[in-house]
């Protein structure tokens, strides 16, 4: 009986140490939904690129630059696509995580959440500006690998403030980003794999590991 008490005591302490530093309410469903949205967005982008079908388009520029062409419309369309995907994915992710936070009793905006956000936002903002610059210089073909790399770096760095799976997701995105930068013709496909399939897979694993069964509320 005594031994059981001590074991419980240690588990309690470990739980407190974890809960006070990590944001553990991140919902796997957020990842799954973000992945589905990303796949939709990639399909849309692919449709726009094919429809514009600029003859002999360069893989880096998609035929943009050099005066007004139909490719300039394509560029705007791609930016609209990307913003839409980002907006919808963020909204859905926020909703599922909010719902889970509600269940576990961890406040959505506590110190651990703020720490996670800060550590994500800083590298992602740099990446976002970099990608806008790529559009500005007429190099949309480099955007898929750039987003994969910056996103991977952000996840890898911020993973110590949330669930462990995020570290592996970050590493996977980085590997895909490196492949994509040398295999630029398949950039969009690799992007769809990284932001779509990987999100669904890791989100599913996170859901399966942490969210099935009875919810353990904060003591």
């Amino acid at each position: 009986m005594m031994e059981q008490d001590h074991t419980k005591e240690l588990a309690h302490i470990r739980g407190l140490m974890d809960r006070s530093t990590r944001f553990l309410s991140l919902s796997g469903l957020s990842g799954v939904v973000a992945g589905v949205v990303a796949l939709g967005g990639a399909a849309l982008a692919h449709y726009h690129i094919t429809r514009a079908s600029i003859p002999d388009a360069d893989i880096l520029t998609y035929g943009t630059g050099g005066g007004y062409t139909s490719a300039d419309d394509l560029l705007i369309q791609l930016i609209v696509d990307a913003s839409g995907v980002l907006g919808v994915a963020l909204l859905c992710s926020w909703w599922f995580t909010w719902r889970r936070g509600h269940k576990t009793g961890q406040h959505l905006w506590d110190a651990s959440a703020r720490r996670l956000m800060i550590n994500m936002i800083v590298p992602l903002s740099a990446g976002g500006i970099f990608c806008l610059a790529l559009f500005y210089y007429g190099l949309p073909g480099l955007v898929p690998p750039a987003t994969l790399l910056f996103y991977g770096l952000a996840l890898f760095g911020a993973s110590r403030y949330t669930l462990d799976e995020v570290r592996w997701l970050g590493l996977s995105e980085l590997i895909l980003g490196v492949i994509a930068i040398f295999w630029i013709e398949q950039g969009l496909l690799l992007w769809a794999f990284g932001f779509g399939v990987l999100h669904i897979v890791y989100g599913g694993v996170m859901y399966w590991r942490h969210e099935r069964g009875p919810v353990t509320r904060e003591a």
Partner: protein
């Protein structure tokens, strides 16, 4: 049997306070209350007990116009906490 266990950590709340402080930088009062799920008064009395033992450091300052009190473990506090955990671990038979 109970050699090494620290009387100061007999209370679950005090043990909880130390657990949170050793893995964080300065933690403010409301955050501690939230994580440990205890009342203000309860938390304050345990904190002052730990402060008297020089296990925690206290920082009072103003954030905007509102007073804000934060806590951090002292070196002695971290050592005492670690020794207490070691003692608990020794009580659990190895598998």
């Amino acid at each position: 049997m109970i050699e090494g266990l620290n009387k100061a950590f007999e209370s679950r709340v005090r043990l909880g306070i130390m657990a949170v402080l050793v893995v964080n930088e300065w933690v403010d009062h409301s955050r501690l209350r939230e994580v440990l799920n205890v009342t203000d008064g309860n938390l304050a009395s345990h904190l002052s007990a730990l402060e008297e033992l020089n296990y925690v450091l206290v920082r009072k300052r103003f954030v905007g116009k509102r007073p804000n009190t934060s806590y951090k473990n002292s070196v002695a506090g971290a050592r005492a906490f670690r020794e207490h955990l070691d003692a608990i671990e020794r009580l659990i038979p190895k598998p």
